[in-house]
């Protein structure tokens, strides 16, 4: 029986982070180190006609200035290879890097960067990502057809991802529906905003480079350095010191190649530390803007007979790792509902703006916000209570999803019931207050991983994993899973998790799958180690190994606890014990959809995480200012390994969701530049604004879940918050707010302006 899974465990890296003794990348300094600065694009869309770095190179204190001429001519990118380390023919957004400088101080590097002469021929910036699909629109990647990329992306000119979900005949069913509701919603782009801005230090020793970097994906960073600099992966070692948050903003190979190239040219270690402004405009820091058109046909009793949707997403200038966004958004336009006929089209388009990345549950909060408002509008049209409409239409055991995947053992409806009970749905409230409810889902998918568990001579153990801790506590929970197999306590383990030379390759911290996949590997490695200990104890005690168990730091005879040998004694006996494991990756579910382009975003709903949030808000009708008083959050994330960590994820996710709902917006000018790339005018939620948050976990044993029946926890908590808040606002002001975020000005305009 489990002794530690599900018990509150304080994470091992907590004390050093809270007390300030932890060391992050920017805290490191190497002997002889130089400082890097980038020269960014001077225009958001332009052809480069000349680069002259001679004045920069001549500046005293400058050791290296590099451009595209100084690195191999290699394009790269996760799903479409559309990008170079340094802009060559064109610049495509304000953060495109044209050159990099290494100098003895950051100030000299900055001055040198400004001395680089770059001539351009200007092109009209393509900022409207919906208009960029039009026939004859100016191409952002004019040679898109020659860029290599995933065949299933459905690329076409400025559209780099196209995905459809088709089930049944939505057109005919819509025509026959009793009630049809159709709405258009627009979500601004927003930002991930980890507290730690990115930092990278690279040092070459002979032909090998070590890069210390603030990344969520060390193995992708290693592959990126190897590819762009054309060196073997064995010559590249990525080390991640403590990571000060990521939220997906550090979820790709970003600047490790630039700094490794600079360090090689300068023949010295080189350090890059971003300012907050640089962090704001950098690749991958952004959550995509989306235009969402959704139409639902229902019969009088509330049965959903048809769903049509058209989604257009802003990918920005380059693909990066986010090529699957069109598919993911299409799944969220269906949502966790039973719908007989579906036709969804989803476009992921280039624009001359910052590239979007997998910011915590990419596409989900925006599409969920739209869909859940739309469901409330449908409920009004049907004269049904919105919660009753959801009771009738949410998926349950045996339900068939939009891709004909049949779901088993999931607790979608239970999350709804728990959330409405926690919030006190239906209670009498003052006229400026209301409660709104929203439901959503998020995938959990299988990926390869591996781990070692090494027993130390004193009986403690070290877990070596490729998983990366980005702050969620997922890696910090791995000792719980190992301890449970070995009869040890979580405190008995140390973790080596941030070094690509130490552990097997891993996806890194993305997609809420660390516990699901890396947890599985740690369990398998622990079982391997346990078997070795049972063998050793069996010969030591001269007892059949089947009669032995691992409990309280000892291997003992079942039923005769005095007959035992401690794990420490076995470990100190001169034999080495080391387990390794991977486990079998669960198979992706069968997905069947006519006309579907690419399935990654669909198949990833292997064992979905299910969410209902209910928000109690107060609206100042005079100003449009909304305060969220309470949020009840009910989740089915399977078995909870560490409640402290899981509750922390929900608390943070809800607060992030409140920001997405009410204030977090990146405003873009007519040239594609950000108007508010700093924390004064990019409005994060402060502690003072955080609502009371009540949390419920519905623990189910979903087939194909991770270790001990766990699913992911990291991303789902921010998915449904904005939708719940939106539905509460509409109840107070009597009108929907169809722009995200629902800023005071937009709420005020919706209250007093003309109805759309």
């Amino acid at each position: 029986m489990s002794t530690v899974v599900g018990k509150a465990t304080i994470r091992a890296d907590g004390v050093e982070k809270v007390t300030g003794t932890g060391r992050y990348t920017a805290d490191l300094n190497l002997t002889g180190q130089l400082h890097a600065k980038f020269r960014y694009a001077d225009h958001t869309h332009a052809t480069i006609t000349r680069i002259d770095a001679s004045k920069a190179r001549a500046l005293r204190g400058v050791h290296a200035v590099i451009t595209h001429e100084d690195v191999p001519d290699q394009k790269y990118g996760g799903m479409v290879q559309d990008r170079r380390l340094f802009a060559k023919e064109k610049v495509r957004w304000e953060g495109d890097v044209v050159a990099a400088v290494a100098a003895v101080t950051p100030e000299i590097a900055e001055e040198a960067a400004s001395l680089i002469e770059v001539d351009y021929e200007l092109l009209p910036p393509v900022v409207d990502f919906e208009a960029s699909m039009a026939e004859g629109a100016l191409l952002i990647h004019e040679d898109w057809e020659s860029d290599s990329g995933d065949e299933s992306m459905g690329r076409d000119r400025n559209t780099l991802g196209y995905s459809t979900i088709v089930k049944g005949d939505a057109g005919a069913a819509m025509a026959g529906a009793d009630v049809v509701v159709r709405n258009r919603y627009v979500s601004d782009c927003s930002q991930g905003v980890p507290i730690e801005p990115r930092a990278v230090i690279a040092q070459w020793q002979g032909g090998k480079v070590t890069v210390w970097t603030s990344t969520q994906v060390p193995y992708a960073a290693r592959a990126g350095v190897a590819h762009t600099l054309q060196v073997p992966e064995s010559n590249v070692r990525i080390v991640v010191p403590l990571l000060g948050g990521g939220f997906g903003a550090k979820c790709d190979f970003h600047f490790e190649g630039h700094i490794a190239a600079l360090a090689r040219a300068a023949r010295r270690p080189v350090k890059l530390v971003f300012s907050r402004r640089e962090e704001f405009v950098a690749i991958g820091h952004r959550r995509e803007g989306i235009v969402i058109e959704v139409e639902t046909g229902a019969s009088r009793d509330g049965t959903l007979v048809a769903r049509r949707a058209r989604l257009v997403l802003d990918k920005g200038a380059y693909c990066g790792e986010g090529g699957f966004f069109a598919q993911m958004a299409a799944m969220h336009a269906c949502g966790p509902y039973k719908i007989e006929n579906v036709s969804v089209e989803s476009y992921l388009n280039y624009s001359n703006t910052q590239p979007s990345s997998s910011i915590r549950a990419p596409t989900a909060p925006q599409v969920c916000w739209a869909l859940e408002q739309h469901m409330d509008e449908l409920a009004r049209a049907l004269d049904l209570d919105p919660v009753d409409l959801r009771r009738k239409t949410l998926i349950e055991d045996g339900a068939e999803g939009p891709t004909r995947q049949v779901f088993e053992n999931l607790a979608m409806k239970e999350t709804l019931e728990q959330a409405v009970e926690l919030i006190g749905y239906g209670q009498e409230l003052p006229e400026d207050e209301a409660i709104g409810v929203a439901c959503g889902w998020w995938p959990c998918f299988g990926a390869a991983s591996g781990a070692y568990v090494n027993l130390n001579p004193d009986g403690t153990a070290t877990i070596v994993t490729g998983a990366q801790e980005n702050g969620t506590g997922a890696v910090m929970a791995l000792p719980i899973l190992a301890a449970e197999q070995l009869g040890l306590q979580p405190e008995d383990f140390s973790l080596l998790y941030q070094d690509t030379d130490a552990a097997p390759s891993d996806m890194g911290s993305c997609g809420s799958q660390t516990t699901f996949n890396s947890g599985r590997a740690v369990v398998e490695a622990s079982i391997d180690l346990r078997e070795q200990l049972l063998d050793a104890a069996s010969s030591e005690l001269e007892v059949d190994r089947g009669d032995l168990e691992l409990v309280d730091g000892a291997v003992r005879v079942k039923g005769a606890p005095d007959k035992a040998v401690t794990i420490a004694d076995l470990a100190g006996s001169g034999t080495t014990f080391h387990g390794k494991g991977s486990g079998d990756v669960p198979e992706a579910p069968a997905c069947e959809t006519e006309g579907c382009v690419g399935l990654l975003g669909n198949e990833s709903f292997l064992s979905p995480q299910l969410i209902t949030h209910a928000a109690h808000v107060k609206v100042d009708r005079g100003t449009g200012v909304v305060r969220v008083l309470r949020v009840a959050a009910a989740h089915d994330c399977g078995t909870i390994v560490n409640p402290i960590g899981a509750n922390g994820q929900v608390t943070g996710g809800v607060v992030m969701g409140v920001g997405q709902a009410l204030s977090e917006s990146t405003q873009i000018d007519e040239n594609g530049r950000q108007r508010n790339p700093f924390l004064l005018d990019y409005k994060l939620v402060t502690a003072a604004d955080a609502p009371q948050i009540d949390i419920a976990w519905v623990e189910t044993m979903t087939p194909n879940a991770g270790p001990k029946g766990s699913k992911g926890v990291g991303e789902p908590p921010c998915v449904a918050t904005a939708g719940a808040i939106a539905n509460a606002i509409t109840k107070v002001i009597g009108r929907p707010v169809r722009r995200l975020p629902m800023t005071p000005e937009r709420v005020w305009a919706a209250t007093f302006g003309e109805e759309e």
Partner: protein, 291 residues
């Protein structure tokens, strides 16, 4: 040229440094100067004069006639927690408590806030409704400039290049039961900057009629400004909802807001009336409590 740094211990020392280096950057809390330089708004000057160690600029006291003298180095945190300010100069307490974060309020000074002349300054309209003036000192002597003349535009004041803001002087309050308040439109509850703010002061007679009313606005024009049109409607009027609504509407018309990243001009203008009315109502409540 290398940067020069001075750290005078007395006002006189500071004034001679300024006389030798006209236009030098003065640093007290550094919350505008340093943050502005980091954000690329304006680089730090070549000559820095740090005045935070000058002891005799930190005095906060009531004058013999019932007015107020606030030394240039008095922090927002001191204004926010001073019982004197809270009770008799409530609008200034309201404004001080809203500035930035606790760290900003403990480091930032009133003198720096005034000299920085941001149209979004939360202490600006409260000081305007109190008819405050700025004491400017140089090696040539002292002069006093009413705050309404001191502010010339965003970041622009009538301070000369060798003058130091040494104090803010506030005359005695008007006769009658006096209440004052500052209300800000707040998108969020901490770390906020004013999008629209309004200060109001009301002096009531024994019958509850407005003897004198003053209204000033923050963040809706190039400078914080008083609204004489609103004040004319208040003077001698009954303190009713209608009176406050009319005065607030006049304030809305007087605002000259702009479109920027924080709000549209249209929204700002509409909010001026809403916020000014709330400031008047709160000032009225306080005036009645004082009666």
């Amino acid at each position: 040229m290398a940067r020069q740094y001075f750290e005078p211990g007395t006002v006189d020392e500071a004034l001679s440094v300024l006389a030798e280096h006209p236009g030098a950057d003065l640093v007290a809390g550094g919350t505008d100067l340093v943050v502005g330089a980091r954000q690329g708004k304006r680089p730090l000057g070549d000559t820095l004069v740090a005045i935070h160690r000058i002891g005799d600029l930190s005095d906060l006291s009531e004058t013999d006639g019932g007015g107020l003298r606030i030394g240039a180095l008095v922090s927002h945190a001191e204004l926010e927690s001073s019982p004197l300010i809270r009770e008799r100069w409530s609008a200034l307490s309201d404004g001080s408590i809203l500035v930035g974060s606790p760290a900003t309020r403990n480091a930032g000074t009133l003198g720096g806030n005034v000299a920085n002349a941001s149209p979004a300054m939360d202490t600006g309209s409260p000081l305007l409704v109190f008819d405050a003036s700025v004491e400017l000192t140089s090696t040539d002597g002292k002069r006093s400039v009413p705050l309404s003349e001191f502010f010339q535009g965003p970041g622009k004041t009538t301070r000369g290049p060798s003058e130091l803001v040494t104090a803010v002087d506030v005359p005695p309050r008007p006769v009658g039961s006096v209440g004052s308040a500052y209300v800000r439109l707040e998108y969020r509850l901490a770390m906020e900057i004013a999008v629209v703010g309004a200060a109001a002061l009301l002096a009531l007679d024994g019958g509850g009629r407005v003897v004198e009313g003053r209204v000033a606005l923050t963040s809706v024009a190039p400078v914080c400004l008083r609204v004489p049109e609103a004040e004319r409607l208040l003077a001698g009027a009954d303190a009713t909802e209608e009176t406050f609504a009319a005065a607030a509407a006049a304030a809305g018309l007087a605002a000259k807001p702009i479109d920027d990243v924080r709000a549209s001009a249209e929204y700002r203008r509409a909010m001026v009336s809403v916020i000014a009315r709330r400031a008047l109502e709160r000032a009225h409540e306080r005036a009645r409590e004082a009666a």
